[in-house]
């Protein structure tokens, strides 16, 4: 079995592959016809790339780690809010909130409420790239 040694940048690379395949035609998306499903998946990958990067950076602070584990142990708090709030306070990583909104739309608002499109993917890839660059993951 392969060691699970991926980094947040790997999620972004996969999302970029999907984006390029959708834009220019490629193997990844040619195997299935469900373009919107690929788009929703790519946006999710972008969000988790940036979210994981922020979490990794925040975990360098012992105080944060203790608070984080307490919350997980009690399971009564929105972890996304907790991590994004801290990333905004500590790094002013404002784009992460925008990416979270794109992910909410991609994953929890299905048609007819929300129709995802390639522009959303393009925006998500750009934001995730900026977040990872800001935290020096790429």
């Amino acid at each position: 079995m392969q060691k699970d040694d991926h980094t947040p940048a790997d999620f972004l690379l996969i999302a970029e592959d999907v984006y390029l395949s959708l834009k220019e035609g490629g193997k990844a998306v040619a195997t299935t016809p469900h373009e919107a499903a690929w788009e929703r998946l790519a946006i999710s990958l972008c969000f988790f790339a940036a979210f994981n990067a922020a979490l990794n950076e925040l975990k360098k602070d012992e105080g944060f780690v203790m608070e984080y584990h307490e919350l997980i142990k009690h399971g009564n708090k929105n972890i996304f809010r907790f991590v994004i709030d801290k990333a905004l306070q500590k790094f002013k990583l404002d784009d992460l909130l925008e990416l979270y909104e794109l992910w909410l739309n991609a994953f929890f608002r299905l048609p007819p409420d929300y129709n995802v499109d390639l522009k959303d993917v393009e925006k998500a890839v750009k934001i995730a790239g900026n977040c990872l660059r800001a935290m020096q993951f790429i």
Binding site: F80, R81, K86, L88, K90, K92, D94, L104, N130
Partner: protein, 94 residues
């Protein structure tokens, strides 16, 4: 704008907007500032004001450069507890 936040935070919002305008005006840029509100679908108490800045006729890298400076402005002018209440989202059009 219907601001659901404290008068203190509203003052910060105006102060920050003025700082952003002063910074951008020195480059004679064509820009638009609007405000939006983020509200989470899982936790309705999580609300954030978004300063939406659309900078026209600039390339992406210029927008990034300007955004980085504006982000520093916000970092220096908002104390840590308020930085998660106001966010700045920039977009380039050009």
């Amino acid at each position: 704008m219907n601001n659901p936040f404290s008068p203190e935070l509203e003052r910060d919002l105006i102060f920050l907007t003025d700082k952003i305008k002063a910074y951008l005006d020195q480059f004679k840029l064509n820009y638009e500032i609007n405000y939006e509100e983020f509200q989470d679908i899982f936790d309705e108490t999580w609300r954030v004001v978004k300063i939406m800045l659309k900078i026209k006729d600039v390339q992406d890298y210029v927008e990034r450069y300007l955004y980085n400076y504006i982000r520093e402005l916000a970092k220096n002018n908002l104390d840590e507890n308020k930085r998660n209440k106001i966010v700045i989202i920039t977009n380039a059009e050009g």
